[in-house]
């Protein structure tokens, strides 16, 4: 108890507050930028946190995570585009409200619900910390192994549009995660004798590649959606009153948010829909839903902020990420040298409390800023994306380079960017890929550890049985709720391309088997088993896709019908997105020639001017500001930027990408 308040006072030190505030501001911004969410936001700050004191770093990272689900309401209500994946359900009633001229009311209700939900989540988290020690002690290797496997099953089955494709994404992630030194024998696996891959693919590269790049090209492509401003909007007080009138709904949805968030691996992506359908089921008069019922905004917003607290529970005590962005948070833990588990509730308890307070405070700050500066912040949705995008690309490249200071990371980033873009467009699950990638080593080790200590007897331990029952019930329940919608394959274009893509994906497990088959069985058993399962799943998907294309009779069978739902993704504008992606390759090429700083300035100018020839003032001033920031950062972090070929010809200062 003493530590609880000591942590609060610690947080109110100027430095902590400053980092928390900085994190919160960044979180608000990535929340507003549609598509960017906590995962991208964290990936951007991770390369910087390892120079910080752990407590500052934690305040900042939580600061980034907490308010993204608050500010994501702006685009949801004003543009009808979810700001993060957690606010998809908010659009259902938020956008109609805004069209009726009640945007202010919707926003104010959403912010207050977010605030209450967030604080509720922090509260539940702090209570659960008290009971964590016996839970950790009851979870041996066997239980942890089950927990991880069940987490993977859940995230695979539920985050994709099609559950088999989701599961397969998960397995592909697991396979990518086995690249690097084999944990049992120390053999290099799939590294092609390079140093770069010895420690596996860096997490930040995977996170930014999978999440940030695809969203940026997606938004560049969807230019033109007209946003509303908040000029002269009234109704802030009404929105607040709505929340208080529906206090019981807020409480229920916060509880749902916490519970679903705490299910390891699931978190984020489905919680808003679960809250929304809970609301529908418990309301008598459903006529206004989808047309602008304020409760349709309150329910998902309360739930998606509450889930952050819930999702931190498995993250902190088992190191199993509660959602996609927690993967990055755990990556941050590694960087600042804290290990999830027993330490978090014993020797590092002060840090845990600091995180809980940060979570509560960041929610308050986030909601406060959103309300106070709503009309200013809403202008963010008006900035043309072709101005934001090149700046964000430069930021992402910078963050990537800052991890290992390695050119290969750029190639890795663009590689995973391509995977991300194709995954997104062809309806494969990116969260499942990321979580599979992250948990891969853990699954492999736990399976060996469980085998060494228990053999198969772990399956009969009481906690294990409870876990298995719980998991299958949840999956059944959620699957039923999620895939009731009807599937119309006719809308999907580019079907041949999507079938071809499955064949491309098969190359990964095939080449994995080919490359590592000569290693010791303890080094290749795990990746080869994964590869075989992945191949079976991929073949099945291929079969269903072809059957769907040929309209075979046997698809009428209920199970096959279920497998076939959303087997093709309705893609739009993939080619254009790909063009934008190619322009990033151009940026990489510029980097090779000019080094990072000059290449960034050039890229920003070229990109903006290509879209709007008259905007040279904007582009010049943005690139000038960027150069100044890079110059400051290079002296602050003693950072030498990637130098280009030009550095060999002309002498340049090192902050411009010179050699010395």
């Amino acid at each position: 108890m003493e530590q609880l308040f000591a942590a609060l006072f610690q947080l109110f030190e100027l430095n902590h507050l400053a980092f928390l505030f900085a994190g919160t501001m960044l979180g608000l911004v990535v929340g507003i930028l549609p598509g960017m969410g906590g995962t991208s936001g964290l990936a951007l700050v991770l390369p910087f946190v390892f120079t910080m004191e752990p407590s500052y770093a934690l305040a900042m990272m939580i600061g980034v995570l907490a308010p993204t689900t608050t500010s994501d309401t702006f685009p949801a209500v004003l543009m009808g585009v979810p700001g993060t994946s957690g606010s998809q359900a908010t659009v259902m009633d938020g956008f109609p409200l805004s069209k009726k001229g009640m945007a202010a009311r919707a926003l104010s209700a959403a912010f207050s619900a977010s605030l209450l939900g967030g604080i509720f989540g922090a509260f539940i988290l702090s209570i659960s910390i008290y009971y964590a020690i016996p839970i950790i002690m009851a979870f041996g290797f066997g239980e942890q192994f089950l927990l991880v496997v069940l987490a993977l099953l859940m995230v695979g089955a539920l985050t994709g549009d099609n559950f088999i494709k989701g599961l397969t994404s998960c397995f592909l992630g697991l396979i990518i995660g086995t690249i690097g030194t084999a944990p049992i024998t120390g053999d290099p696996r799939y590294t092609f004798d390079t140093l770069y891959l010895i420690e596996g693919v860096p997490l930040v590269v995977v996170g930014l590649g999978l999440f940030a790049l695809p969203e940026i090209v997606g938004l560049l492509n969807s230019q033109g959606s007209i946003a509303k401003t908040l000029k002269n909007e009234k109704g802030w007080a009404t929105g607040l009153k709505d929340v208080f009138k529906n206090w019981f709904l807020v409480l229920r949805c916060s509880t749902i948010g916490c519970l679903v968030g705490a299910l390891p691996g699931l978190g984020g992506t489905v919680v808003d829909w679960i809250a929304y359908s809970h609301l529908k089921q418990t309301t008598k008069d459903t006529s206004q839903f989808g047309k602008g019922d304020i409760r349709g905004v309150i329910a998902p917003e309360a739930a998606n902020n509450a889930k952050e607290g819930g999702a931190l529970i498995p993250t902190l005590i088992f190191g199993i990420p509660g959602s996609g962005n927690k993967v990055l948070l755990l990556g941050g833990f590694v960087l600042i040298g804290i290990e999830p588990g027993l330490d978090m509730v014993t020797t590092n308890l002060d840090l845990t409390y600091l995180m809980i307070w940060s979570l509560a405070l960041a929610n308050i700050l986030g909601a406060g800023i959103c309300v106070a500066f709503a009309s200013h912040i809403s202008k963010f949705t008006l900035v043309p994306y072709y101005i934001l995008a090149p700046v964000m690309i430069c930021l992402i490249f910078f963050a990537t380079f800052n991890i290992n200071r390695d050119w290969y990371d750029f190639i890795g980033l663009l590689g995973f960017g391509l995977i991300g873009i194709t995954f997104k467009n062809f309806g494969w699950s990116r969260p499942a890929l990321l979580i599979g990638f992250f948990l891969s080593t853990k699954v492999e080790l736990l399976s060996y550890q469980t085998h060494a200590v228990y053999g198969l007897s772990f399956l009969y331990r009481p906690v294990s049985i409870v876990l298995m029952v719980l998991c299958f019930l949840t999956i059944l329940l959620l699957l039923r709720q999620r895939f009731e919608s009807n599937y119309s394959a006719e809308l999907a274009a580019n079907k041949l391309g999507q079938i071809f893509y499955v064949l491309v994906l098969m190359c990964l497990p095939l080449s994995m088997i080919w490359v590592i088959s000569n290693l010791d069985y303890r080094a290749n058993l795990f990746p080869i088993s994964l590869s075989i399962i992945a191949l079976i799943l991929l073949s099945f998907i291929l079969f269903v896709k072809i059957a769907d294309l040929k309209k075979l009779e046997l698809l009428q069978h209920p199970i096959m019908n279920f497998a076939r739902s959303n087997i093709f993704e309705i893609t739009a504008g993939f080619n254009k997105q790909f063009h934008y992606y190619v322009s990033f390759l151009g940026f990489l090429f510029l980097n090779f020639i000019f080094g990072f700083p000059i290449a960034s300035a050039l890229f920003i100018n070229l990109f903006i001017l290509f879209h709007d020839r008259k905007a040279y003032r904007v582009s010049l001033s943005i690139s000038a500001i960027l150069l100044i920031i890079l110059w400051m950062l290079s002296s602050l972090l003693t950072l030498q930027f990637p130098n280009g070929a030009i550095g060999f010809l002309i002498e340049l200062p090192w902050w411009l990408g010179g050699l010395y």
Binding site: F50, G140, F141, G186, L195, I198, G337, E339, V453
Partner: protein, 358 residues
């Protein structure tokens, strides 16, 4: 303005130091390459020493710590080998894992560690302990020796953890079986849950996490690695003065003194694992007078009252090793004799690992 100030400072210091020493670093920058991430043990070690070193080196050079993580510390170490100038402007932050890469003959290693010129070494020590129900009294291993299965944590055989296998083999623990992939912290958690039987920790975590459990009677000490003196004597660890050292335990169990090949292997392992746990080295071929200037600065640093006050908490209780004897230790740690390698490979084989020391 800033340039002018720097110029002023530089000229001031160059004036004052012309008289005092031939080696002078005024206005220079010393780059301290650390082949690990920021925040790790070696990084903390370097950052702690950095200000004191600036204070006591002639000319008070700027010291910047440059982190080059990756490739199991090989990337940064190779970078140092290829880029460091042997004029005192480059320092290397070394740790047990950097040494083990060399000692075990990792083919990717390009750095010639045994020829580097050590300035100072920071020793560490390992404590082994078990659950109280697995020992009749503290420091007693007879119950464990009788057991069919004694599980312990092992991160990977391609690391210093390999030495655990050797230690338990020499003590005749027939049931000893490593559980791979467990960090020392993860291993300790499993130990507390009762899943593994022997666990170990370094000094800092021993004091913080294990001592309270020992006081509650749940855990008992088994032994420590022992503090190896520069003359080869092994003394007990002041943090657990009652616990026998490994050579004592060896004698008690095997009925004969640790000697011959076993003793030689113990010295090599002790040098890599304990004595040179963290170290600060200059590149090979650094002139003697520059090495001496650094060692002088390190000696002065050790006597600095501020250093004395903070070192116990930041670096642990074991005194730094400075001077020529440090060089011998690094050589011993980096170059394992063929008999030592054979011993290690034999225990690796016995435990069915495919990894081999080369």
């Amino acid at each position: 303005m800033r340039k002018f100030l720097i110029l002023l400072l530089v000229s001031f210091f160059s004036l004052t130091s012309i008289v005092s020493a031939e080696v002078d670093f005024s206005g220079k920058t010393v780059t301290w390459v650390v082949p690990f991430k920021e925040g790790g043990g070696t990084s903390r070690f370097a950052r702690f020493i950095q200000p004191f070193l600036t204070k006591y080196l002639p000319g008070n050079p700027d010291i910047q710590v440059m982190h080059i993580p990756g490739g199991g510390a090989i990337k940064g170490s190779n970078y140092f080998q290829e880029n460091a100038k042997a004029d005192g402007t480059f320092l290397f932050g070394c740790s047990t894992s950097v040494i083990v890469n060399v000692a075990t003959g990792n083919p990717l290693v390009k750095y010639n560690l045994s020829e580097y010129r050590p300035v100072l070494l920071l020793p560490q020590n390992t404590h082994w302990f078990t659950r109280s129900d697995l020992a009749t009294e503290p420091h007693d291993m007879s119950k464990l020796i009788e057991r069919d299965l004694v599980l312990y944590a092992l991160k990977t055989p391609a690391s210093a953890d390999l030495f655990h296998i050797w230690v338990f083999d020499k003590l005749g623990l027939k049931g000893a079986k490593p559980i791979p992939g467990l960090s020392s912290s993860g291993g300790y958690q499993a130990f507390l849950r009762g899943e593994i039987h022997i666990s170990s920790h370094g000094a800092a975590n021993y004091v913080k996490k294990v001592k309270p459990e020992i006081e509650q009677g749940k855990v008992v000490d088994l032994m420590t690695l022992g503090i190896i003196g520069t003359d080869g004597s092994v003394s007990r660890n002041p943090l657990a003065p009652d616990a026998p050292t490994f050579p004592e335990m060896y004698e008690k169990i095997n009925g004969k003194k640790l000697e011959g090949d076993d003793l030689e292997a113990f010295y090599s392992i002790g040098a890599a694992w304990s004595q040179a746990s963290k170290s600060m080295l200059l590149p090979e071929n650094t002139p003697d007078e520059i090495v001496e200037v650094f060692r002088d600065a390190a000696r002065k640093m050790v006597n600095d009252p501020e250093f004395k006050e903070k070192a116990l908490k930041a670096l642990g209780p074991f005194p730094l090793i400075i001077g020529e004897e440090a060089g011998e230790i690094v050589k011993k740690a980096a170059i394992f004799s063929d008999t030592t390698k054979d011993q290690l490979n034999a225990v690796l084989k016995k435990n069915r690992f495919t990894y081999r020391v080369k």
